[in-house]
Amino acid sequence: VPRPTVPRPTVPRPTVGMTDWAAVYRTTYPDLVRYLHRKVWDEERACDLAQEAFARAIDGRRSPGDPANPRAWVFRIAANLALDEARLVIRRRRHLTLLRAEPVQVEEPDPVERLEREAREVAARAALERLSDRDREALLLWDAGMSYVEIAEQTGLAVGAVGTTLARARKRLVDAHAELEAKHAAH
């Protein structure tokens, strides 16, 4: 007697807990710090925010379910954190909670080299700040390694508009930077 075919109950596909956060962390953290640094202009704070972003991303209670794209998820959290100045106290409190590392001893660069680097950073910062928020965000996300689709998801742009936005942002950035350099040279 053939056995009746009994439809198997649908088993929900695992969506939580399968993310290799260690791998995500290793591959994302430096880009995330750079991205945040260009938003808050403070390296230590950028590190704090990056750690906080990972803390929240990994915390299952606050983020119910593994995101489909953990890297984009972390960036989204980080972007919101960078916007939210009121969370500073909480961030400091949690800093010690998730991560603590021996700070790396960084060799002090040559003073002249350091001054030049600082001057370049000031100019780059000023140029970036001349961009519109949307242009800057798209550019920073692209530079952090996000794809067009991810940038579109995060910024609300259409995928087809990302290229146009990036083209405009790059041109404005270069123009602004050149203008600032010219002003600086004139002085």
């Binding site: 939580v16 791998a23 919101n80 909480i90 909670t97 991560l99 780059a124 259409a158």
Partner: protein, 429 residues
């Protein structure tokens, strides 16, 4: 065919033509191949392409100037989140498991730390509903940044209770996907799929290598410091004294105070366990009986011949600290804070299932052995002065290193740095 616009040219340069094609965002139904073919034929577009390429490269250079040149990636202590069937119901059971397994390990370290991460699985529809209800699109989706963080004991307790209620009160969802888990972090082979085991092992090896590297650096730094007089000591290589002090003051909660936030302790024949949620929402499991408290105390640095007035411990993921308060012969009071970065490795503990009691005992023995190993290793560390500063109350706060540990001593100025160092070294840990 019309000329290609700048956006598509940049998409070409960015290697995103396929993404645009998939999204139907290329003009006039073009395919990526059409764009490339056009570029090969159209000199005007090729010339504009070179111009945009140059702009793109210059923009990249400006961005490079804007960012940190090098970013150090600190080791990640919390590495894995594991999914598992079950519910919040076994909290007590899981806690007792953790209790049994962790007792030895805990008892042999200053506050080795356990993190119980519990994570609920919600169906995607639930997720979407939750996101939608929380507000506008991208910001609401990134709920973690906007979610209120528990703050204060009552809120913490509420959050803790709410976590339990959220499962008790949703039987229908529990029947479908109620996958709540309490995972002693980090976890490894026995809980991950085989396909992940190799990768996790690789991660563990990497972290061990990192830890070894850090230890080597610390040893080298300590050796270099030994030959220098205190006055010439450079800034502390690992942790800024001010930062460390303020953080410790904020976090070095008395043991009893911390446990008080957890509600009723779980009582076992041998130990008392507390499940607590700290201000950041992390769940900690802690236990101690009199014997274990003595063990904890024995692993902290202190000044020899100083009378103990009490001790506190504070644990965070990746960090552990203990503070011994002492009274010296001349009735002066001294505080000695031992701070250590704690590298939780993937293979440190793996308890996520219902182990038998014998297995638990085995794990306990293994934990004790690890603790003993760590203690033996730490015993050979030399105490090295790093820096000092005057406190407003007239005492001197000094920072010492002992291997990977850092020790803060707040003592009267009558005690020289060398006296403090000698008494730390000979405290007979």
């Amino acid at each position: 065919m019309p000329h290609i616009d700048d956006g598509v040219l940049h998409a070409y340069l960015d290697g995103a033509l396929a993404a645009l094609g998939d999204a139907g965002a290329l003009p006039e139904g073009m395919a990526p191949g059409d764009v490339i073919a056009h570029l090969e034929q159209c000199a005007d577009c090729r010339s504009r392409l070179e111009l945009e390429r140059s702009t793109r490269e210059r923009a990249g250079m400006v961005l490079r100037d804007a960012g940190p040149q090098r970013v150090h990636t600190p080791p990640l202590a919390a590495t894995d989140v594991q999914r598992r069937r079950g519910s919040w119901l076994p909290l007590a059971w899981a806690a007792s498991l953790v209790l049994a397994v962790g007792a030895g390990w805990w008892g042999n370290r200053i506050g080795s730390q356990y993190v119980l991460q519990e994570q609920s699985v919600m169906e995607s529809a639930d997720l979407e509903r939750g996101d939608a209800s929380s507000g506008s699109a991208p910001r609401a989706t990134a709920a973690p940044a906007a979610a209120p963080t528990p703050d204060g004991p009552q809120t913490r307790q509420n959050a803790f209770d709410a976590a339990a209620r959220s499962h008790d009160g949703a039987p229908e969802r529990r029947a479908a996907v109620p996958e709540t888990e309490i995972v002693l972090e980090p976890t490894l082979a026995d809980t991950v799929p085989q396909s992940l085991a190799a990768r996790e092992a690789s991660v563990a090896r990497t972290q061990q290598a990192d830890a070894a590297q850090v230890a080597t650096r610390s040893a080298q730094a300590a050796a270099a410091e030994t030959s220098r007089p205190l006055a010439a000591a450079p800034p502390p290589p690992a942790v800024r004294l001010e930062t460390m002090t303020s953080e410790l003051q904020a976090h070095a909660l008395p043991y009893s105070a911390f446990s008080g936030q957890a509600g009723d302790p779980l009582i076992d024949a041998a130990v008392t366990a507390f499940v607590a949620r700290d201000s950041a929402g992390q769940v900690f499991w802690r236990e101690a009986n009199a014997q274990q408290q003595l063990a904890l105390r024995s692993q902290m640095f202190a000044l020899s011949d100083g009378a103990d007035l009490g001790f506190d411990v504070a644990l965070e993921i990746g960090t552990q600290a203990g503070r011994v308060r002492q009274r010296l012969e001349n009735d002066e009071h001294v505080e000695v804070v031992t701070w250590e970065q704690h590298q939780v490795r993937l293979d440190e503990l793996a308890v996520t299932g219902a182990a038998s009691r014998s297995e638990s005992r085995d794990s306990t023995r293994a934990g004790r052995q690890r603790g003993a190993d760590a203690q033996a290793k730490a015993a050979g560390d030399r105490v090295v002065p790093l820096s000092e500063r005057a406190l407003p109350d007239g005492r001197i706060e000094r920072l010492f290193a002992a291997g990977s540990r850092r020790i803060i001593v707040r003592a009267p100025a009558t005690l020289s740095a060398e006296q403090v160092r000698e008494r730390l070294q000979s405290s007979g840990r």
